[in-house]
């Protein structure tokens, strides 16, 4: 029995901001299904009261002074951006005319 279908992958792809083609969707669905089958072995392990690993280091995390330090100059950062002007990253208009947000929408205003 398959664990995931195309619709599951579509939902997850949307969460991950990935626009997958129909071919990619079909292939990723097969891959995900097979991997989840394989990963199902984790359910069979008796984890008892094992805690979750959050950090593998055995030493305490070193702390540094919370001091203001210079970052990269603005012009250096924007020089490698795909689109920038006046020291700012350029993006498509986020707020459409009429004040409606176009954040996740796909319809034309």
């Amino acid at each position: 029995m398959s664990r995931v279908g195309i619709d599951d992958v579509k939902r997850v792809a949307r969460l991950a901001h990935l626009a997958l083609t129909e071919d990619e969707l079909a292939q990723v669905t097969r891959n995900l299904d097979r991997l989840l089958d394989y990963v199902a072995q984790l359910q069979a392990i008796d984890v008892g009261g094992a805690s979750e690993t959050v950090h593998v280091g055995t030493r305490p995390t070193p702390l540094r002074a919370d001091a203001v330090r210079p970052g990269l100059p603005r012009e250096v950062v924007t020089a490698t951006a795909p689109a920038a002007e006046a020291g700012l990253f350029q993006v498509p208009k986020v707020v459409e005319s009429g004040g409606e947000s176009a954040g996740a929408g796909t319809e034309a205003p």
Partner: protein
């Protein structure tokens, strides 16, 4: 010397400091070697001759001024292309970073410069270090110097091929699930993953942050140790980096008596007979060095690959959310709105394996599945770590294969992602537990392909690990007897 590329890194560095040869000559020799080997190998993505020669001149001036430089002065170091070098392209083997120039040096690159080492070519790799064969690079596959029809391993396959073919003296890679040790094994060289927290990852492009670690690739254990001495140590810019200095590593040797543990689980089904044979030969050599064989158990290691592909993909899906076409890298043409910009940029920029892992990672973190997959995997991860801790109560190092097979053919596993993932079965448990591990060549398998043996030590025990590795290397004399045909 007629060919500087045949020297060890430390020998070359010694001659540069003694002014017997110049850093410029060292650079030229390796460039010449790259010109001869690159058409066949494709190990490099960026090899700016004029710039590197210029930097080599700068090193020679420092030598002439009597500046105290490290043992790696003038030594060309290949850099995996997921490590930032200021002013040079850093693509991570991905189209999504095509044309992006890093605005700063990674911590390891800063340290190489300070040490007087030569920051050499940037090497090809699986896209965002996701892969075990280098076939996932958007810029074409790297070939194995031992057999051009075969993969060099991955994801640090470019650095491994370059060091093997002597177009670099040593190289840096990153190891998230075996990406330094496995290509080293498949190419017949030394590759090491230091303890998690030993090397700063500032300027390493993140894949799976609880696993990633930068490590050296070299043609002998001592060169690898020298490179780790240079790049390791505290760095406040990486909060996971230990504040303890790297101990002296290059003069480490095996103690006169030690115990090496053999995990039964690593010698079961799936291990190729020729790999088993050569690794057993290495174990016999360890006995001749005064090592005592101890049987140990790692009962949860059979779940390591499953655990790894939940943890690593979950972290990757989060880390790779930053590629949105806004701040760096590729941007799709004429986006209609912000959502369209992000979705199409990512669809065009990421390759199939990266998309696959982002979907898996997003799935295991999504509502309703988090407990069953991600939480569960991190509990099993604790059990895997504990297995190692218990094993190290009974032995000083563990010995096992690095990879279940020798180098496989290009295309052999590309249709079956899970089969590819299983080639990491002996390396991923070491990352999950944050331990230091090293692969060194121990013999030739069928078809004359190199076999690597993996040694693993408790956290922070790099001197012990490298000491035993170096003594084993001397006993095996692999590189005195074998060399790749290229």
């Amino acid at each position: 010397v007629s060919d500087l590329t045949k020297l060890s890194a430390l020998d070359l560095g010694r001659r540069v400091r003694a002014r017997e040869v110049s850093a410029v000559e060292a650079c030229r020799s390796h460039l010449e070697r790259a010109r001869a080997t690159e058409p066949a190998l494709h190990a490099y993505l960026d090899l700016p001759e004029a710039r590197m020669l210029d930097e080599a001149r700068g090193i020679d001036e420092r030598v002439a001024r009597g500046e105290p430089l490290s043992p790696l002065a003038g030594v060309p170091v290949a850099i995996k292309d997921n490590i930032c070098v200021a002013g040079r392209p850093t693509t991570c083997g991905s189209k999504i970073l095509a044309g992006w120039t890093a605005p700063y040096d990674a911590a390891v690159v800063e340290r190489l410069r300070k040490a007087g080492a030569l920051v050499f070519g940037k090497t090809n790799c699986d896209e965002f270090a996701m892969g075990s064969s280098n076939e996932n690079s958007a810029y074409g596959v790297v070939r194995n110097p031992w057999d051009l029809a075969r993969v060099p391993g991955g994801s640090s396959g470019g650095s491994a091929a370059a060091v093997t073919a002597r177009s670099a003296a040593v190289g840096l890679g990153s190891d998230t699930g075996g990406s330094v040790r496995q290509p080293a094994s498949l190419c017949g060289i030394v590759g090491m993953k230091p303890t998690y927290g030993r090397v700063s990852r500032y300027g390493l492009v993140a894949f799976a942050s609880s696993l990633d670690q930068i490590g050296p690739l070299a043609r002998n254990v001592t060169d690898a140790a020298a490179l780790l001495e240079v790049v390791g140590g505290p760095d406040a810019r990486d909060s996971t980096c230990s504040d303890e200095a790297v101990p002296s590593l290059t003069d480490a040797r095996a103690p006169s008596a030690f115990r090496f543990g053999i995990p039964a689980e690593a010698f079961g089904e799936g291990l190729a007979p020729d790999v088993r044979r050569e690794v057993e030969r290495a174990m016999a050599s360890l006995e001749s060095l005064g090592g005592r064989r101890v049987e140990v158990e790692l009962p949860h290691s059979s779940a390591a690959v499953a655990t790894y592909y939940v943890v690593a993909t979950a972290e990757a899906s989060s880390n790779l959310a930053r590629y949105d076409g806004v701040r760096y890298g590729h941007r799709c043409e004429a986006p209609s709105n912000v959502a369209d910009l992000i979705m199409r940029t990512r669809d065009e920029g990421f390759g199939p394996e990266v998309k696959r892992r982002i979907v898996i990672g997003t799935y295991v973190l999504s509502a309703g599945y988090y407990d069953a997959y991600y939480r569960r995997a991190n509990q099993v991860r604790s059990l895997i770590s504990r297995d190692f801790d218990l094993a190290f109560d009974r032995c000083d190092v563990l010995v096992m294969p690095t990879s279940p097979t020798t180098a496989f053919r290009i295309g052999e596993k590309t249709d079956d992602p899970l089969a590819m993932y299983l080639s990491d079965v002996y390396t991923v448990p070491v990352n999950l537990a944050g331990l230091p591990g090293i692969s060194l060549p121990c013999g030739l398998g069928d078809g004359g392909l190199p076999v690597g043996v993996q040694l693993v030590a408790p956290r922070w025990q790099e001197p012990r690990l490298l000491g035993i590795a170096r003594s084993l290397e001397e006993a095996l004399r692999f590189s005195e007897m074998h060399a790749p045909p290229l």
